[in-house]
Symmetry: C2
Subunit: 152 residues, 2 copies
């Protein structure tokens, strides 16, 4: 199954933005992510609606962080993306007349539900500020390199 990497991608963007103030164009961000500017705009749209970022047109425009990083959790970001499916597996049918299928669905739903709940709970406990801090720690332990976040 192909895996959705939008959450991973948007977090990457946000953390990069947290490293320096200025507005970032979609093209700049796209290059850092090795993707297309339109893809950036797409995954940022949800964040803008929830007020986590702002976007401005024209000269000197681009994307700007507009939230307190310590108040936004990974779960918030996930929600901003439209709460896409978390699990790669699901039931064959939703409301089957078949009793066997009902029994199977009930068992799977139980397990699936618990896993989803745990995942959301974990995502809800990690803030963007914590991720930024984690990044700085990693940066500190890399003596041999400058301030560039990218590259070997």
């Amino acid at each position: 199954m192909r895996r959705d990497s939008r959450l991973s991608g948007v977090l990457h963007i946000l953390l990069h933005m947290a490293q320096q103030p200025g507005p970032f164009t979609s093209e700049t961000l796209a290059k850092a992510m090795d993707t297309n500017p339109v893809v950036i705009r797409r995954i940022m749209a949800g964040l803008r609606e929830l007020g986590y970022v702002r976007s401005e047109k024209g000269h000197g425009g681009g994307w700007t962080l507009a939230c307190d990083l310590s108040k936004v959790t990974l779960r918030d970001v996930y929600t901003a993306l439209g709460s896409p499916a978390l699990l790669a597996m699901g039931n064959r049918t939703k409301a089957p007349g078949c009793l066997v299928e009902q029994a199977v669905n009930a068992a799977l739903d139980q397990a699936f539900g618990e896993a989803e709940a745990l995942l959301l709970s974990r995502l809800g406990k990690v803030t963007l500020a914590m991720l930024a801090e984690e990044f700085r720690k990693r940066l500190g332990s890399r003596k041999h390199q400058g301030l560039r976040a990218h590259g070997a």
Copy 2:
């Protein structure tokens, strides 16, 4: 994201097989699942390799249960399917040089890993026998109908 329903499907098949002894042809099972015989053979192949079911060709052939239902867990069945991805989301890149990405991946992997572990653990605690029992309970509480598993 399209959701993988093979686990749901194969469990459905196994429970149906548990209701009566005889060998079942792929075509019979396919009709109960509203799908194609080849699909049945495909998802049953892994189970056969692990010895959970047997298949025989020719007259009177078909699929037969070959395991103790109380000894096979949903996790075993999942493994027999080839352990497909559990989560719909994943990291953008595996071993990034970018430190930001590393920090993001570490945080997500932590949350994803815990959710996967919980899910596998839950699946490992449910046996096919438990599902069959659950089915019988549901059947019992449906006074108005005969022994047919399917239908309203």
